[in-house]
């Protein structure tokens, strides 16, 4: 599979603020990528660089093999739906859809009509009178029906209720199966999308902390709890993300792929193994070293 996006040492500074710091990664063809990180981590900046809306301070960034800035051959294939997507004030919902139909070669009118039905979007209502949730539903509808080879959703569902979010996930996964494309989804609702995401990119303070498949993350990290001495014996030299200790009982989240034999041993030691959710992993990785903990002992893992 060829990379749709290739970034080498990409850095973006706004004055004295470094929004992205020497970031390198590739986005593969026909994959759903989760772009995760805390507020201000640099997710939106990265998406703006990918879509040629901002300009990298340093580094090399190619999309579909070419530089994206002012490149019609690249940008024609991109749809970018932002968190606070705005529309011309004179537009009603149907005008926004009509505009998207004019601009996207792969636009699917029937699919758009289904989504409008699903989200109960009022076609003739002015965008100024749409609720926050309906504006998000309109953005999601355009993003999905555009079938752009590279579709970016930046926190696309502000104000969308849980039912509507699930319609979005269901529609995305079904349509993606029939029309594979490259999707980048940035979100705070990580648990909701963890089954959707095939590859995870985690950025924190402008640096890329993780870039690997969601599948391998699930097997690589584990939370071990039980008697402290046994926990430490099993966790061994694995990189500890988080540690809570109460008396002689410990609970440690550690980077430690375990094979079947090790799992048996854990059971015989009276240890409980629980998988680490994507959300927990993101929280642990991005709050390390921030000096805060909930009264428990936090220990930096041995490297």
């Amino acid at each position: 599979m060829s990379p749709v996006v290739s970034a080498e040492g990409v850095t973006k500074r706004f004055g004295r603020v470094t929004a992205l710091d020497n970031v390198s990664f590739e986005l593969t063809d026909n994959t759903i990528h989760g772009l995760l990180g805390r507020n201000g981590a640099g997710k939106t900046t990265l998406m703006q660089l990918l879509t040629g809306q901002h300009f990298a301070t340093a580094g090399r960034l190619t999309v579909f093999g070419q530089r994206p800035y002012e490149n019609a051959q690249v940008l024609d294939r991109i749809c970018f739906i932002k968190e606070s997507q705005t529309y011309p004030q004179a537009f009603a919902v149907r005008h926004a859809l009509e505009a998207a139909r004019l601009l996207f070669a792969n636009w699917d009118e029937a699919f758009a009509a289904e989504l409008v039905e699903d989200f109960q979007l009022p076609l003739r209502r002015s965008v100024r009178k749409l609720s926050r949730g309906m504006l998000s539903a309109l953005g999601v509808t355009i993003g999905l029906a555009s079938r752009a080879p590279l579709t970016l959703f930046d926190e696309p569902y502000l104000g969308l209720d849980a039912a509507a979010r699930h319609i979005f996930y269901d529609r995305l996964i079904t349509d993606y199966a029939e029309h594979p494309r490259t999707v980048v989804l940035s979100t705070h609702l990580i648990d909701e999308v963890s089954n959707l995401i095939e590859r995870v990119l985690l950025i924190d303070r402008g640096r890329l902390l993780l870039d690997q498949s969601a599948e391998s993350l699930r097997t690589e990290y584990v939370t071990v709890s039980g008697p402290a001495a046994s926990v430490d014996r099993l966790a061994g030299t694995g990189e500890q993300l988080h540690r809570e200790q109460l008396g002689n009982m410990a609970r440690v989240t550690v980077r430690r792929p375990l094979d079947a034999a090790e799992r048996d041993r854990a059971a015989s030691l009276g240890l409980e193994l629980t998988p680490v959710s994507l959300q927990e992993l993101m929280v642990r990785m991005t709050t390390r070293g921030s000096g805060r903990d909930s009264g428990a002992t936090v220990k930096e893992g041995a490297r």
Binding site: T51, H54, E70, C79, P88, F91, A99, L102, L103
Partner: protein, 231 residues
């Protein structure tokens, strides 16, 4: 080119509003003027003029500012290049200006046919704006639209690229340069010469000749500004 046309069409998806505002405001000011001059018609026999046709030019200036503040970010998100967006907007401006020029010319003909709306009122055929050649008359109406549209676009682009501070700097520079020029002309007592120069120009050169290079310069400045503008 197809992309540019698609973007132009995108800007016109709600064309009744795009065209409705300028002409709605013009009609409102026209009716207000008719009422005013009808109410004072018995006090004078002289033909009356009013400059209220200016209103449509102002609405167009504001409208092209909004094209930049509202359509530009929207189009960028939908994968349109700045170049294509700018070309499409200029195309729209030229087409709209010509259409409005023709419509204003037709209004002028109607005004002449009805004896100034029965009131000897010159609303469309302002004395300094008239030319007997239809093509010249249409251009006299049309070209100033392109200047005002370009001013609206450039101001909005300064705002898009440099924010409110950019607008303050622009305003400051305009006042310093404009004020300086006025002071210099007054000091050198050039006002009479300038007045003569304007009086010597035909309506065609004044409204359809000199504004052309002005529009081109503004369009060039706008292009350089939009190249690095962000949504």
């Amino acid at each position: 080119m197809n992309r540019v046309l698609a973007v132009t069409r995108m800007q016109l998806v709600n064309w009744p509003v795009t065209l409705g505002w300028p002409w709605g405001i013009l009609m409102a000011s026209f009716l207000a003027n008719l009422a005013i001059f009808w109410s004072i018609a018995d006090t004078t026999d002289q033909p009356q003029s009013t400059g209220a046709v200016m209103s449509i030019y102002i609405v167009l200036l504001v409208g092209y500012g909004q094209v930049i503040t509202q359509f530009f970010p929207f189009a960028l998100g939908l994968g349109v290049t700045r170049r294509a967006f700018y070309a499409a907007t200029l195309l729209l401006l030229v087409a709209e200006s010509l259409l409005y020029g023709v419509l204003l010319y037709l209004c002028r003909l109607l005004e002449a046919a009805t004896g100034g709306w029965g009131l000897s009122l010159r609303f469309f055929a302002l004395p300094f704006l008239v030319d007997d050649n239809p093509v010249a008359q249409i251009l006299i109406y049309a070209v100033p639209f392109t200047v005002l549209g370009a001013i609206g676009m450039c101001s909005a682009l300064v705002f898009k690229r440099w924010g409110v501070n950019g607008l303050f700097v622009l305003g400051f520079a305009t006042i310093v340069l404009g004020g300086g020029a006025i002071a210099w002309v007054s000091w050198q007592r050039h006002w009479a010469a300038i007045g003569h120069w304007f009086a010597d120009q035909s309506a065609l050169t004044l409204f359809a000749g000199w504004p052309v290079p002005l529009t081109l310069v503004l369009a060039g400045i706008g292009y350089l500004t939009i190249r690095r503008a962000t949504a």
